[in-house]
Amino acid sequence: ADDVTLQLKWVTQGQFAGYYVAADKGFYEEEGLNVTIKPGGPDVAPVQVLAGGAADVMVDWMPSALAAREKGVPVVNIAQPFARSGLNMVCRKETGIEKPEDFKGKTLGTWFFGNEYPLYSWLAKLGLPRDGSAEGVTIQKIGFNVDPLLQKQADCITAMTYNEYWQIIDAGIPESELVVFNYTDEGVATLEDGLYVLEDKLKDPAFVDQMVRFVRASMKGWEYARENPDEAADIVLENDATGAQTEKHQRRMVREINKLTEGTDGTLNMVDYEQTVKTLLSGGSTPVITKVPEGATSTAVTDKL
């Protein structure tokens, strides 16, 4: 069997259910692949791992992948299992925020590490400077949880539909007290979890073939996860070496994730791609990418599915 190493963007959780299901259910094996899944973490830059040669393929968000490409690491999108974005901005209602224009003078918490780009584009579109002035917004780098919102240290924070949003709900803040802005609705959505490889590796037909089999099996995994969300969540839990995840949360997460992967065979929708590039180019004074990327996507794999 061919060895393939997959580097995830984040820790083992329902977000990556498809890959764990494919591994657990033997879909990879059926394709003659021996897949190792490496979980990510707050400081794992999947691009670095890929460039260092410790992984063959990675899950990454398109903004950071395109940024890396412009910085000289030629990563290429070979498939896009997530058709939709799960990124939200969640505010407490008591702050008086009703529409994005009300952000003025407020404190927004976001993740960084490449995840701040969509927000920057959005703010640029709204014409709000990020300098902390009364006319603009104060940006804070938040950790990995929703405490800043709960502790009222931030008025709004970024939250994934499938994860942080539910943590807020679980913490006891009812939906009625929250105002949620969806990035897709605001027209600043960017593509999230896609599969990326190094460009020159695609010159090798054998590698392309491996990736074809890999993506095919992965998509099968996603399909299975959509059909059996609870089982998928259990598989994720089993693979979580920290033993810290809860069943309730993971089952819900897989269901939410399924809404994002629904209706795609993994082929990248070029309209969404163009939309992502447009958003990233409009990042105000510090755009994420400065020019339209070339060759950042490849259909070499998805064509052969």
């Binding site: 830059a45 691009v47 910085k71 995840n115 990020r130 804070q140 780098k141 950790g143 405490d147």
Partner: protein, 301 residues
Amino acid sequence: MAAALLGTVSAYPAAASHGFWAYVLVAWAMAWLSVEELSGLTPQSPLGQRLVALAIPLAFGVWLLILWQLAVVGFGVPRVLLPAPSEIWLRLLSSPQILWEDFRQTFLKAVLIGYALGCGSGFLVAILVDRVPFLRRGLLPIGNLVSALPIIGVAPIMVMWFGFDWPSKAAVVVIMTFFPMLVNTVTGLAAADRIQHDLMHTYAANYLQTLLKMRLPMAMPFIFNALKINSTLALIGAIVAEFFGTPIVGMGFRISTEVGRMNVDMVWASIAVAALAGSLFYGLVTLIERVVTFWHPSVRG
């Protein structure tokens, strides 16, 4: 020699042959020899000595940088993993404004204040623990416990308690620096030998006099040991704490975000500033140590 090497490399990037590496090896040997030569020098004037003492590590460092440059270029290491020193240098030159603001946020606020509070409290608690045998037996084990709290566990909690700005980082620094100070001071306070104690005893010196005139001076080498270790720990602590929530300024913030943006040269520029600041800080503490513990055999001889 170095210039020739660098020239070769830039002419034939990623074309390192065996010959090339032999060349590098020779360069390394020469570096060693030149440092050896330099450290053999003993100029008469104090100024000259100071200069040599500075020149040696610098020469060594320059050779390290050259080697680094050669390795990066020679092996064709991806830039996003490890940039060449030249790139870092360019970045340093081009972004002084950002680096200065980060420095001010992290070093001048979080590190210095946290260091002062952490070392200060460690010292005071050590005195307390030493004075009250009950606490020595009760608090010292607990002190070990608290101070061994891993920063990455503590940092998010501190953010939760003290907010996003520097106070939470200073709190992390306090926790990190507290223990080394405690342990070293307690050890140091026990360093005086019997006859020195007896002498104070014969004067019926009170506790405070014995402390000030004998035990603290005796403890100074140990206390400075802690101050030196802490000077580097404090910096690491503050930077790492910034990984867990911060306003968008600070060395830790810069490092963590720019990695994600693949601006690895910026990351290393920040690291370079951190290393420089830390080294100078350490150097300063060492200088003060030499003045204060001039009598200790390790300084005297």
